[in-house]
C-alpha cells in the first residue's frame, strides 16, 4: 500500500554540477555572448507606451465588469459567492428582493441593490470570476486604470456595468468564462439534465 503510494510521486533532483560547470567560466562566457549579441543587433527594445499600446493577451486579468443579460439587466443574482471567495475583501454587495411588480423583473427573485469593488484593494486573482455561478462578474483586459482619489477607484454597479458596455463595444471580451451559456440559477426554465448520465446506462437510466 505504502509502496504503491511512493511510486506515484516523482521527486525532482537538482542536477549535479560537473567539473566544467564548477569553474563558472563557460556560464560567464555565454552570458557575455548574449549581452554582445543584443548590443550589436540594432533592434529597438523600448516600447513606445502610451503612443503604442501593447497587445494584451485576452486572458489578462484587469478591471472587473458586471455582465448584462439579454434584456440588459444586471446578470448578477446577489448570491455573495464572489464576496465570500474574495481573499482581499474588496467586494461588497447589498442584496434586495427584485421588484416583483415590474414586468421587466418578473422572473427574478433577488438582485444586487449595490455592488461595489474596491479596485485598489483588489489583487486581481480572478477568484470572484471563478466563484460566480451565473458568469456575472468577469475580469477584462482593461489594464490602464487611473484615478485621482481613492473613492474614485471604488467602482459601483453602474461603473462596472459601463465597463461591460465598453468592452463589448470595443470587442475586448474576456475569453475565460463561457459567455452565453448561463449558469442554471439565472436561466428561465432549466431543462435537460444537469450532469453526465451514469456510466453504462441508457438515456433514461
Amino acid at each position: 500500500m505504502s509502496n504503491k503510494k511512493t511510486k506515484t510521486v516523482k521527486w525532482g533532483e537538482e542536477p549535479k554540477l560537473g567539473m566544467l560547470d564548477a569553474l563558472y567560466l563557460p556560464a560567464i562566457v555565454s552570458g557575455l555572448a548574449t549581452a554582445v549579441r543584443h548590443a550589436v543587433s540594432g533592434k529597438p527594445t523600448t516600447r513606445q507606451y502610451p503612443e503604442v499600446e501593447p497587445e494584451i493577451p485576452p486572458n489578462y486579468r484587469g478591471v472587473h465588469r458586471l455582465n448584462r443579460d439579454e434584456q440588459g439587466r444586471v446578470k448578477c443574482v446577489a448570491c455573495y459567492m464572489c464576496q465570500t471567495a474574495c481573499p482581499a475583501n474588496c467586494i461588497e454587495i447589498i442584496a434586495a428582493p427584485a421588484p416583483k411588480d415590474d414586468p421587466h423583473w418578473k422572473d427574478r427573485d433577488k438582485f444586487p441593490a449595490t455592488f461595489t469593488i474596491d479596485e485598489l484593494r483588489c489583487i486581481y486573482c480572478g477568484m470572484c470570476e471563478e466563484a460566480c455561478p451565473v458568469d456575472a462578474i468577469e475580469l477584462t483586459s482593461v489594464y490602464d486604470l487611473t484615478g485621482l482619489t481613492r473613492t474614485e477607484m471604488v467602482f459601483d454597479k453602474e461603473k462596472l456595468l459601463s465597463v461591460f458596455d465598453e468592452t463589448v463595444k470595443s470587442g475586448k471580451d474576456p475569453v475565460r468564462t463561457n459567455r452565453g451559456t448561463l449558469g442554471p440559477a439565472s436561466e428561465v426554465a432549466p431543462t435537460g439534465r444537469q450532469g453526465p448520465p451514469p456510466p453504462g446506462r441508457g438515456k433514461h437510466g
Partner: protein, 572 residues
C-alpha cells in the same frame, strides 16, 4: 435503559427512543426531514430508511427483510440498526434524487443555503447528478402565506413539519396541504394567513428554503453570521436563543432547543422584537449635567495635553464614573435612608449584585428598590383550541408570559439578600422620602410612568443608567449609557427559577457600555467584568443563588434550589 447496536456500536438508549435518537446517542446520524422531536411522527419523507433487526435469544441477529423508517420504529433490548449497508445507501440516494426532481437549482439566491438539510444530505448521502430529462415543475411563490413568512413553493419537499406545527403546537391550523401527488403544495385558506404569535417557528422548522422569514429575506448569507448563545428577554419564559450577528449588527434571533426552558420554539414577539437595540434614539455616550461638566472642564483640558483644544481625545467615562462614585458616596453619607437605588428587572443577576453590594457597602441604611415590572395581559398558552381557547392544564406546549421582563426572580433574590425584603417602587411613590436616586433602566421602551416621574421629582442627586432617553435622563445629573441584552454577559433567572447564562453578541453603540462594565468600574472593583467569576462569588455569598457557585451554567442552565425542590415534588 435499553441496549441497542448501531453500526456495531453498542449504546444505551432510552426506552422511548426511536431509531434516530438511539443512533444519535451512538454518534451516528440518520438523515431525516419530516421527523422533529417535538412534533408527531408521519414517516413521509422516507429519508431515514434504515435496516433494523433483532438479537434472538440464542445470540444470532435476524435483520428485517425491508428497510423501515427510523423515525417510526421503536427500539427494544437487542435491536440492531444498520445505516451504512449498501441497501440503505441506495435508498438514501434514491430518496434524495426524488426529492430533488422538481427542486429548483437556486441555492445561489436561497436564504437557506448554508444551513439547508437538502444541501447537506445531498452532499453526504446523495448522487451528484439527476436523471430527469423533463422540464422541472415550476410553481408560484406565495408571499401571502403570512405577514412574516414567504413560501417558495417549488423548494418544498413536503415534509409537512410546518403543517403539523400549526396543528399541534400553535393549535391554530392555518397551514394545509392542498392537491395530491406531485401537485401537492402547502397553502392557507384565503383570508386566513399564518399570522399566529408562533408563526416564525415554521421558518426554523423548514428543513429546506421553502419557508423564509420576510424580515430576514436576502439580508445576509447565513455563513457570515456568528452566533452567541443567549436568553430572550422579551418575557419571563426566558427562551434559550442564539443571537446571529455580523459586523456588530444583529440580523435574527433563533430559538436554541432547551427542554428546561421552553422546548424548541420561541414566540414572534421575541423573535422580531430585538429591533430596538439598533434604534437611533439610544443613548450612546455618558452625559454630565451642565453644573457637573463645568467643574470637569479644567480637568479635561489637562488630559488632552498638547492636542488642539477642540480635539477631545479624553474618554468621558472615567470622569463620569469618578464623579458618580464621589456623588453617591457623599449623598449616602449625608443621609443614608434618603438614597434610593432602583433596580430594573432587565438587569442580570451579576449587575444587580454589583450595584447592591456597592451601595450597601457604603452604608447599610441606603435603600434598594425594585423598579416597575412590565406586564401585558395574562399568560398566553398554546396550543389553542379550535375557537382560540387556551389548552387544558397539563397540555400546554408553549407559554408566552404576561410578565415582559427576563429576570424579576434573579433581581429579587439579590435584593432579598441585601435589603431583607423586596420593596417595589410602586409602594414608595406616594412618600419616597428620598433626596438622591440611582435609577437603572434597560427596558425595551418607555417605562417612566407619571407616578415615578413625580416621585423622583428634582432631587439633589439623580443618576440614570439606561439605554433610551426618558424624562428622568433629561434632567439627570449623570446619565450612564448602558447596553441592551445583546451586549451583556450575565445570568437571567426565568419564571420557573431556571438560571441561564447569556453571552454578549455585539458591542454597544458608540460610547455606551454594557451595565456590568459600568458597575464594575463604579464600584471601584479591579479587573474586567467576568460573568463566570462573579457567578462564583454570588453563589458563595447569596444563599438563594447558591447554584451559581459552579460558574459555568452549561447550555441549559441550572434551576435554583427552591424551584428544583418544587419540580421534584410536582413530579412525585
Amino acid at each position: 435503559m435499553v441496549k441497542v447496536k448501531v453500526n456495531d456500536i453498542e449504546v444505551d438508549a432510552g426506552p422511548k427512543d426511536n431509531c434516530i435518537l438511539a443512533a444519535r446517542k451512538a454518534g451516528v446520524e440518520i438523515p431525516h426531514y419530516c421527523w422533529h422531536e417535538s412534533l408527531s411522527v408521519v414517516a413521509s419523507c422516507r429519508m431515514c430508511l434504515v435496516e433494523v433487526g433483532e438479537t434472538k435469544p440464542d445470540g444470532t441477529v435476524a435483520m428485517g427483510p425491508k428497510l423501515v423508517p427510523g423515525c417510526q420504529t421503536p427500539i427494544k433490548e437487542g435491536t440492531v440498526i444498520r445505516t451504512d449497508s449498501p441497501k440503505v445507501k441506495a435508498a438514501q440516494q434514491m430518496t434524495l434524487e426524488l426529492l430533488l426532481l422538481n427542486h429548483p437549482l437556486d441555492c445561489s439566491i436561497c436564504d437557506q443555503a448554508g444551513e439547508c438539510y437538502l444541501q447537506d444530505y445531498t452532499y453526504k448521502y446523495g448522487k451528484a447528478h439527476s436523471r430527469l430529462d423533463e422540464p422541472k415543475l415550476q410553481r408560484m411563490d406565495k408571499y401571502h402565506i403570512g405577514d412574516q413568512i414567504a413560501l417558495f413553493t417549488d423548494r418544498c419537499v413536503m415534509c409537512t413539519r410546518c403543517v403539523r406545527f400549526t396543528r399541534e403546537i400553535s393549535g391554530t391550523a392555518e397551514l394545509h396541504v392542498v392537491a395530491r401527488g406531485s401537485h401537492e403544495e402547502i397553502d392557507v385558506f384565503p383570508e386566513d394567513p399564518c399570522n399566529n404569535k408562533l408563526a416564525g417557528n415554521v421558518v426554523d422548522l423548514c428543513p429546506v428554503g421553502a419557508l423564509c422569514s420576510k424580515d430576514f429575506l436576502y439580508k445576509k448569507r447565513v455563513w457570515w453570521l456568528k452566533q452567541a448563545e443567549s436568553v430572550c428577554t422579551g418575557c419571563s419564559t426566558g427562551c434559550s436563543i442564539s443571537i446571529d450577528q455580523n459586523e456588530n449588527k444583529v440580523y435574527r434571533l433563533r430559538p436554541r432547543p432547551n427542554p428546561e426552558a421552553q422546548g424548541h420554539f420561541m414566540c414572534d414577539e421575541g423573535r422580531f422584537g430585538f429591533k430596538y437595540i439598533h434604534d437611533e434614539r439610544r443613548l450612546s455616550a455618558p452625559k454630565l449635567s451642565a453644573a457637573l461638566a463645568s467643574g470637569t472642564e479644567s480637568q479635561r483640558k489637562t488630559t488632552t495635553g498638547n492636542f488642539a483644544p477642540d480635539l477631545n481625545f479624553a474618554d468621558v467615562w472615567p470622569t463620569a464614573l469618578t464623579k458618580a462614585r464621589q456623588k453617591i458616596q457623599d449623598a449616602i453619607k449625608a443621609d443614608p435612608s434618603g438614597f434610593v437605588a432602583v433596580f430594573s428587572p432587565f438587569m442580570t443577576v451579576e449587575e444587580a449584585y454589583l450595584l447592591a453590594k456597592f451601595i450597601k457597602g457604603i452604608h447599610e441604611k441606603a435603600r434598594l428598590v425594585l423598579g416597575p415590572i412590565p406586564t401585558v395581559g395574562t399568560d398566553d398558552k398554546y396550543p389553542k383550541g379550535p375557537k382560540g381557547e387556551p389548552p387544558a392544564e397539563g397540555k400546554v406546549k408553549f407559554t408566552i408570559r404576561g410578565e415582559k421582563c427576563p429576570n424579576r426572580l434573579g433581581v429579587e433574590a439579590v435584593l432579598k439578600h441585601f435589603e431583607g425584603s423586596v420593596v417595589r417602587i410602586e409602594s414608595i411613590t406616594q412618600r419616597p422620602n428620598a433626596h438622591a436616586w440611582y435609577i437603572v433602566g434597560g427596558y425595551t421602551s418607555g417605562w417612566v410612568t407619571e407616578a415615578i416621574d413625580k416621585a423622583v421629582g428634582t432631587p439633589s442627586l439623580l443618576i440614570v443608567q439606561d439605554i433610551f432617553p426618558s424624562p428622568l435622563s433629561e434632567r439627570a445629573d449623570i446619565v450612564l449609557a448602558s447596553g441592551s441584552f445583546a451586549e451583556r454577559d450575565g445570568t437571567y433567572v426565568n419564571h420557573a427559577g431556571l438560571a441561564q447564562s447569556a453571552n454578549a453578541a455585539i458591542r454597544a453603540p458608540g460610547e455606551a457600555r454594557p451595565d456590568g462594565r459600568i458597575l464594575m468600574e463604579l464600584a471601584g472593583r479591579t479587573g474586567v467584568f467576568n460573568a463566570m467569576a462573579l457567578r462564583k462569588e454570588i453563589g458563595a455569598t447569596v444563599p438563594e443563588l447558591s447554584v451559581l457557585a459552579s460558574g459555568d451554567l452549561g447550555e441549559q442552565g441550572v434551576r435554583l434550589v427552591r424551584f428544583a425542590k418544587l419540580a421534584t415534588a410536582a413530579a412525585t
